[in-house]
């Protein structure tokens, strides 16, 4: 019975904030390294690709990767059902994914942040209206909207961007608004009000800087969401158009020959996982580093 009652010292030791294994320099290095690699690949990849990614070569279809017994290093990552080089397609897909991230995340963050901030500032029924819009958003699964869009306008990159921005801004707006409201009830805002600061000044000079942390963290964590979402849409055939190369499309193309050419599905998947993981790790690290409140709760 006595063993169950730990002393104060033991409890203190048990619950003091620990250095997290997941946040040592090594695990910060990995996400940053991957993200740099991702950006470089996205920009220069297609130029560095060994083959033309759309070149069909039926003689060499379904070639194995260089790592496998029957493969050769001519096609380091093998070829797909039409003989197209997987490595080259992977590099081109990186460009698309980079584009998706670089365009959609800032756009949706900006829209979501502004709407959330505005809703928090103006209050009243306008705020309710805006949040009602957000609810609407969340009631329709993004995929549904995407499929509908694609049926009307045909799959295209533009539609993917529109759909994903719509998909993302609402959750941003909601969180920004509730954070802004929470912040507005803190002591320092009260103090600012007491000395006569106007609402606008409070909003921009006091609340916004604190909000930026949350916004940036959310944006980083959305990288994985956006890449996976685009992959999913392209897998279903309602993402990018026929011409564009996407990791998600590569997976759907590989599905039919899964049992005989499993690497066609595995390799693009690993690419997606790596970039998403890097984004999430970095976002987590940011969250722990920037938010003093959470430092002790984890």
């Amino acid at each position: 019975m006595d063993e169950d009652r730990e002393s104060d010292a033991a409890l203190f030791e048990k619950y003091r904030p620990r250095k997290f294994h997941l946040h040592s320099p090594l695990t910060l290095g990995f996400p940053i390294g991957v993200m740099i690699l991702f950006v470089i690949t996205g920009i220069f990849g297609p130029a560095l690709a060994p083959y033309d990614a759309t070149e069909i070569d039926l003689i060499n279809r379904l070639a194995e990767t260089g790592f496998q017994a029957n493969g050769s290093w001519d096609h380091a990552l093998g070829t797909d059902d039409l003989g197209r080089d997987v490595l080259s397609r992977l590099l081109n897909g990186a460009r698309l994914s980079l584009f998706i991230v670089v365009v959609i995340i800032p756009l949706s963050t900006l829209i979501g942040g502004l709407v959330g901030l505005f809703a928090a500032w103006i209050g009243g029924w306008t705020s309710r209206l805006l949040m009602g819009l957000v609810d609407l958003q969340m009631a329709l699964p993004g995929i549904l909207l995407a499929v509908l869009f694609a049926s009307i306008f045909g799959p295209s990159l533009r539609n993917v961007v529109i759909v994903l921005v719509i998909f993302l801004w609402s959750s941003q707006a909601r969180i920004v608004r509730s954070e802004a409201l929470a912040l507005s009830e803190t002591d320092f805002v009260l103090a600012a009000r007491t000395i006569g600061c106007t609402d606008a000044r409070i909003m921009f000079r006091h609340i916004l800087p604190n909000l930026l942390n949350t916004i940036v963290i959310l944006a980083t964590l959305n990288v994985a969401t956006v890449i996976i979402a685009e992959a999913g849409l392209s897998y279903l055939g309602v993402g990018v158009d026929q011409q564009t190369i996407s990791w998600g499309k590569m997976i759907s193309e590989g599905r039919d020959v899964l049992s005989i050419a499993w690497w066609l599905v595995t390799i693009p998947g690993i690419a997606i996982i790596t970039v998403s993981l890097a984004g999430n790790l970095f976002g987590d690290w940011l969250r722990d580093a920037l938010d003093p409140r959470l430092r002790h709760a984890r």
């Binding site: 169950d4 009652r5 730990e6 409890l11 048990k14 619950y15 620990r18 294994h21 997941l22 928090a120 500032w121 209050g123 009243g124 029924w125 705020s127 309710r128 009602g132 609810d135 609407l136 969340m138 009631a139 329709l140 699964p141 993004g142 995929i143 549904l144 499929v147 509908l148 049926s151 009307i152 802004a180 409201l181 507005s184 805002v189 409070i202 909003m203 609340i207 996976i228 992959a231 999913g232 897998y235 279903l236 998600g248 997976i251 599905r255 899964l258 049992s259 499993w262 599905v265 998947g269 997606i272 996982i273 998403s276 993981l277 999430n280 790790l281 987590d284 002790h296 709760a297 984890r298």
Partner: protein
């Protein structure tokens, strides 16, 4: 319950109804933009006269607003017309497929809870330990892996290579395992992380110290006090997962050829079967809105700040 709380609940409920209304309106008009409904009823070699006649008979030549009003009137009676492809009432087709999706969704949620909650609790109690570390790694991975890819890989490994489980379809329990596990990984990761942080917060509260100083054993302290208080937010998290599971099931059902609502919607959109699209979206929306409603109402009970709604700086 105060009258203020009642008012807030009723407001929230009204908003839910409004949301459903707006969504089906959107879908009605959007799906009309996909194609001309008459083309489904008219055989290919119809003359313009025959087409016009059909149009008139079926009411497609009426102003769109009138068609919309008619649609709404029938919709509240759950009459969505007949499916073009199945020639049965659309609503019946939807309810059948709903069962399949619910089966899948509930199984996935159960898997998420059964894996997520215990792992989260152990990770919090033995913080910094091996369970904590490894489950956080797995949770991180779980949120970085596209679930349709995971499904395909599982199919390859478990069905094709090992031959343990079938690749798809619905029938025996065995066919449920792979899709449910695939769909359940994301909720499992989210629930695990949330349980862990919720539990950690609960464990640092004063009442835990009080319980310990009363001389209660470690186990009693955890199970009876910390757990109960940390579970409430987790329950609300599960409500939020419902929407995610429903949209996740759309793609998982496609991967595993599971005859559910999600797959039905995709097929209906591709086949431009309006009545099914409308009926199915109506059904999906009701579920999601309902789940969000429950979550929001329980928040109202928990957090007094939100009860008044629409605060300002």
């Amino acid at each position: 319950m105060t009258s203020k709380l009642w008012a807030a609940i009723v407001m929230r409920f009204m908003r839910a109804i409004l949301t459903i209304f707006v969504v089906i309106t959107l879908v009605f008009f959007l799906s009309r933009a996909i194609g001309d409904p008459v083309s489904f009823y008219a055989p290919i070699d119809s003359t313009q006269e025959e087409i016009d006649f059909l149009k008139n008979k079926l009411g497609f030549d009426r102003p769109l607003i009138v068609q919309y009003g008619d649609f709404l009137y029938k919709a509240v009676q759950l009459d969505f017309g007949k499916s073009f492809t199945a020639s049965r009432p659309a609503w019946d087709v939807v309810t059948e497929r709903l069962q399949a999706t619910v089966e899948l969704g509930v199984s996935a949620l159960i898997i998420g809870i059964v894996i997520g909650v215990p792992l989260g609790v152990v990770a919090a109690v033995r913080r910094g330990g091996i369970v904590d570390f490894s489950s956080r790694v797995i949770a991180l991975l779980g949120q970085a892996v596209p679930n349709f890819w995971l499904g395909l890989i599982l199919i390859f490994l478990v069905s094709v290579k090992l031959g343990w489980l079938p690749t798809g379809g619905r029938g025996d329990f065995q066919q449920l395992i792979l899709p449910a596990v695939t769909l359940g990984t994301f909720p499992a990761a989210a629930i695990m992380r949330f349980t862990r942080s919720s539990m950690l917060e609960a464990l640092q509260q004063d009442y835990i110290r009080t319980a310990r100083s009363k001389g209660l054993t470690q186990r009693v302290v955890i199970m009876k006090h910390a757990l109960r208080n940390s579970l409430l937010p987790v329950v609300t998290l599960m409500g939020l997962q419902v929407a995610g599971i429903l949209s996740g099931s759309i793609i998982i059902e496609t991967v595993f050829a599971w005859p559910g609502l999600g797959r039905l919607i995709i097929q209906a959109i591709i086949g431009t079967d309006f009545n099914i699209i409308q009926a199915a979206v109506f059904m999906t929306t009701i579920w999601i809105v309902f789940a969000n409603l429950i979550v929001d109402i329980s928040y109202m009970f928990l957090d007094p700040r939100i009860r008044t709604g629409g605060g300002s700086v």
